[in-house]
Amino acid sequence: MRKAHALLSWLVAVCAVFTFVPPALAEDGAGKRLAQQVYNRPDGDDMTTRGTMVLEEQGRSPRVRQMITYRLDVGYGEVWTLIRFTSPSDIADTGLLTLDHADGSSDQWLYLPALDRSRRIPSARKGGRFVGSDIFFEDLQDRKVDMDHHRILGDEEIFGVPTRILESVPVDPGNSTYGRRVSWVHEQSLLPLRIDFYAPGRDDAPVKRMEVHRLEQVQGFWTVMDSTFTDLGSGHSTRVVVDEALYDRRLPQSLFTSQSLEDPARERVHRP
């Protein structure tokens, strides 16, 4: 089973899977089927991206983070990812290694170049902003379809593109920082073109929105090349742009070890 996980293009695919519905609402088969299709969407055996994250805020100069991400679908439900920041210089070489296991558990390590040490961090963490962005740690994590109730709310066009609206609510409210998510899923690519995130107990208005600006087929795989996460309360937004994406490069498993995490030179030879 392929899993959508990690930061850039696959990020939105993950987000789509865990959309919320008030617990009182019953799940429908079509909703779960669509969520499963999004989860299973073809995304290659491995993926490498070179991307940029721009933190934008009204009246302030944007802050830019550049990074390389690697994802390897090991098989049997195992997905491994490595994120390496390349700029700005004060966080360059910082790395995040995540090993998602088939049983839903994960192991995660953060490499801090100043100490030349990696430290295990709790992978169950959901809230908290990823490098100060509008992306929460939960948004980066793999989430199984069964962790949410799903239902179809209808069809709607976004910029003239037809989508199905998928609503998801966590089965266990304690395992998500969101109370509900609504995804506008583009059925051809099985990627959400928009996701509205609702805070627990606040069904009236979303608190955050993800919008896709550009989808592109790379080596036959639909890839989110440009998207924005916006905090609807403050207007602060985080734009995530994939400058280059490559699939099925046969990334070695040795890239997803503490050895590579702690030695950027080892990882550097795999950069696109």
């Binding site: 933190l55 802050r63 902003r129 600006h213 087929q217 036959g220 070890t257 030179a265």
Partner: protein, 709 residues
């Protein structure tokens, strides 16, 4: 089969037989229409031997007919497209017209209710397999789901680039290389080309030249210099599994192998979907990424800090700091790299004891060798073993820098030391071996510095109780260093993997921080006549000797996550820890140093809290001046706010068994990357024989700027 064709226009001259024929036809048509009204008919295509050909025929009328499907014609062992199925002749005629316009050959047949209904052509997936059995299995699975599926063999001409390691004169060598490649996850095949004696290890064949070049690069990184790219041409047999579904099938593949009949391709171009207004290219904001493999030279880190002491009783009123580091790095090739680094530190103290002291020192400067399973580093390097933050009991080989006591973060409280380090990687495990040929003691400030561990003005040494016998000796005596000789060695086996991380270590190290031994002759003189300080001082050329005793260290650490917390444990047994008896005799005793901690995020938000408890136990029956058991609560709490523009942090170290306080709140503006401006406060308090008590007059407010380039 009866193709429907337009009848030629009739001539306008009618004969009686012709009229009769027309009337008869009308009658038959009426009868036929009545029959059609009772039993539905199908407008079907000619039979197609393959499912994909039937799909193509269906696509020809896409968007014009709503109920296009495909049925399997078992008798003809073929597939037919059903363009329309209706009891209304008008529907059939309409479909016939559209199909005719598309150039398709069609016929009307009656519907056999015993046969399955046509499969609506909503989604078509075409998957390619190299293994025919796998293809047949895939088709069978689709049929079991009620979908229409067929396997169609195809032959493809392809061009490949084979990546080969050439020139192995015997098969054993080639086999060894193949094994090494497979250990790296690279499939390898050994063969001997015709008319050649050598063996070749093929490390993959690629249709994409770029991937072939990437593979070449990988092999070169692994140290293979005999890589050749060989173009190949050939024909491969593939098996296409065509599946037609009425609904979105599981694992629906929207890649080019898929034809969706219900949705038009996305604008503006195939394979690209742009939503909303065109946005500025992000590159406009971006700092160019660091090149992958180029030499780098320049500033590494710069820092300036002004510090004001708040206590009037302190010997100084200001303690300021300037620091700059420069670095040059050269990746010689994929295996070898070099680094040279230097640092300059200026310590400025104002007040009664004022000075400005600038010190030039080397930074991490080494030559490094990398191979897939190992890394070897020779030269000056900083190595921190252990798992705990701030104080790791098994971190015994690193060189401490206490020129500013503990005002700085851990990474700034270490210096490089010349060493040879060998790291061997075996799966999840790492064996780390380090030898330090020449000992480098901790960087300690001179005695006129308020952060010195020796306070000569008050006759005190940090961590020791006030002693009326020692005080005058500390104030007036001479201090010598015993820091020559071998630095030590250590080995650490660590594992980072699923569920938990751990390490065990054995070291023969020297204590980095000095421990001040009262000279034996001075002690003897002092004990003979405690009131004769002058005589005691004259008994030896040196009053105190700064010792760095050797010690065996056996230790380990463990880390794992529970829920949203990470737990860490670390402990070390030391064979020799310096101590002083109540009668001022220096000795080395066994010690046990341990720490346990938890890191968590309250409210699952941005606040990170690290709480650690540590203990040091000197295991001896002697009566010591030193504290035999020290328990400390230490760690930090950090939170960023205003979208990561500000960072608030508190570092703390609190004595559990004794009043001993160090608090360091700090507020930093971090949005001006890579610069950071911070305002901090260092508060010390405690009993006189504690660290906090020793510096209780040195509360400090700091304002600083630092940047990392």
């Amino acid at each position: 089969m009866t193709p429907f064709t337009e009848s030629p226009a009739q001539e306008s001259h009618h004969s009686a037989p012709a009229v009769a024929t027309v009337l008869l036809c009308l009658l038959l048509l009426l009868i036929g229409s009545a029959a059609l009204a009772d039993a539905p008919s199908r407008l079907v295509s000619e039979p197609f031997p393959g499912l994909l050909a039937a799909v193509e025929a269906a696509r020809a009328v896409d968007h014009k007919l709503d109920r296009v499907g495909i049925v399997r014609d078992r008798e003809a062992n073929a597939y037919r497209v059903v363009f329309e199925e209706s009891s209304d002749p008008a529907d059939i005629l309409n479909a016939q017209r559209i199909a005719g316009q598309a150039g398709l050959r069609v016929q009307v047949v009656s519907v056999d209710p015993s046969l399955p209904p046509p499969m609506p052509v909503a989604y078509v997936t075409v998957s390619t397999f190299t293994d025919p059995e796998e293809a047949v299995g895939e088709a069978a699975q689709a049929r079991n789901r009620g979908e229409l599926a067929d396997v169609e063999p195809v032959r493809q001409d392809i061009g490949l680039t084979s990546v080969q390691l050439t020139g192995y004169t015997n098969r054993a060598n080639a086999r060894r290389v193949a094994r090494n490649l497979e250990a790296e996850g690279i499939e390898a095949v050994i063969f001997s080309p015709a008319h050649e004696r050598d063996y070749v290890v093929a490390a993959g064949a690629f249709r994409d030249d770029r991937r072939a070049r990437e593979q070449t690069r990988r092999l070169q990184v692994l140290g293979y210099t005999n890589v050749s790219l060989v173009p190949l041409r050939g024909q491969v047999e593939r098996y296409e599994v065509v599946v037609v579904s009425g609904d979105v099938p599981p694992g629906f593949d929207p890649a080019p192998g898929v034809i969706t009949l219900r949705r038009p391709p996305p604008p503006p171009g195939e394979g690209v979907l742009v939503l909303g207004e065109r946005r500025d290219p992000v590159a406009a904001f971006a700092t160019p990424a660091q090149p992958d493999r180029t030499a780098r030279i320049g500033l590494d880190e710069v820092r300036a800090e002004a510090g004001v002491l708040t206590d009037d009783s302190a010997r100084a009123d200001g303690s300021h700091y300037l620091h700059a580091g420069i670095v040059a790095e050269w990746p010689f090739n994929d295996r070898w790299s070099g680094r040279l680094a230097a640092r300059v530190d200026s310590y400025i103290q104002t007040g009664d004891d004022d000075f400005t002291r600038t010190i030039l020192d080397y930074g991490e400067s080494f030559v490094r060798y990398r191979a897939p399973q190992r890394r070897v580093t020779l030269g000056a390097q900083t190595v921190l073993w252990g798992r705990m933050d701030d104080h790791a009991p098994t971190d015994r080989l690193s060189v401490q820098d206490v020129r500013r006591f503990m005002l700085d973060d851990l990474q700034d409280r270490r210096r490089a030391v010349f060493a040879a380090r060998w790291e061997e990687f075996i799966g999840e495990y790492k064996m780390d071996f380090m030898v330090i040929p020449v000992f480098r003691p901790a960087e300690v400030p001179r005695h006129d510095n308020i952060w010195s561990p020796v306070d000569r003005s008050r006759g005190r040494i940090i961590g020791m109780p006030d002693d009326p016998l020692l005080s005058p000796l500390i104030s007036e005596g001479r201090f010598a260093e015993d820091d020559d000789g071998f630095g030590g060695w250590g080995i650490r086996l660590s594992r980072a993997g699923r569920g938990f991380d751990y390490a065990v270590t054995l070291q023969h190290a020297r204590h980095s921080l000095p421990y001040y031994e009262l000279d034996r002759d001075v002690r003897a003189a002092l004990l003979a006549d405690p009131n004769d300080i002058g005589g005691a001082l004259a008994a030896s050329s040196d009053t105190f000797i700064a010792r760095h005793p050797r010690t065996w260290v056996v230790g380990g650490d463990l880390g794992f996550s529970v829920g949203r917390s990470t737990l860490r444990f670390e402990a070390a047994w030391l064979s020799d820890h310096p101590a002083t008896t109540e009668d001022l005799r220096y000795l080395e005793v066994e010690a046990f140093d341990w720490a346990a901690g938890v890191e968590f995020f309250p409210g699952d938000a941005d606040l990170r809290v690290n709480v650690q408890v540590g203990g040091l136990h000197l295991m001896t029956s002697e009566d010591l001046l030193d504290r035999e058991n020290v328990y400390t609560l230490f760690g930090d709490a950090e939170n960023t706010f205003a979208r990561d523009r500000w960072r608030a942090r508190l570092r703390y170290s609190l004595g559990i068994d004794r009043h001993d306080v160090y608090l360091n709140p700090e507020l930093a503006f971090i949005a001006w990357e890579p610069h950071e401006i911070y305002l901090g406060y260092h508060h010390f308090d405690g009993a006189r024989d504690t660290l906090g008590g020793f510096h209780r007059d040195h509360d400090l407010i700091t304002l600083g700027w630092r940047a990392r380039y």
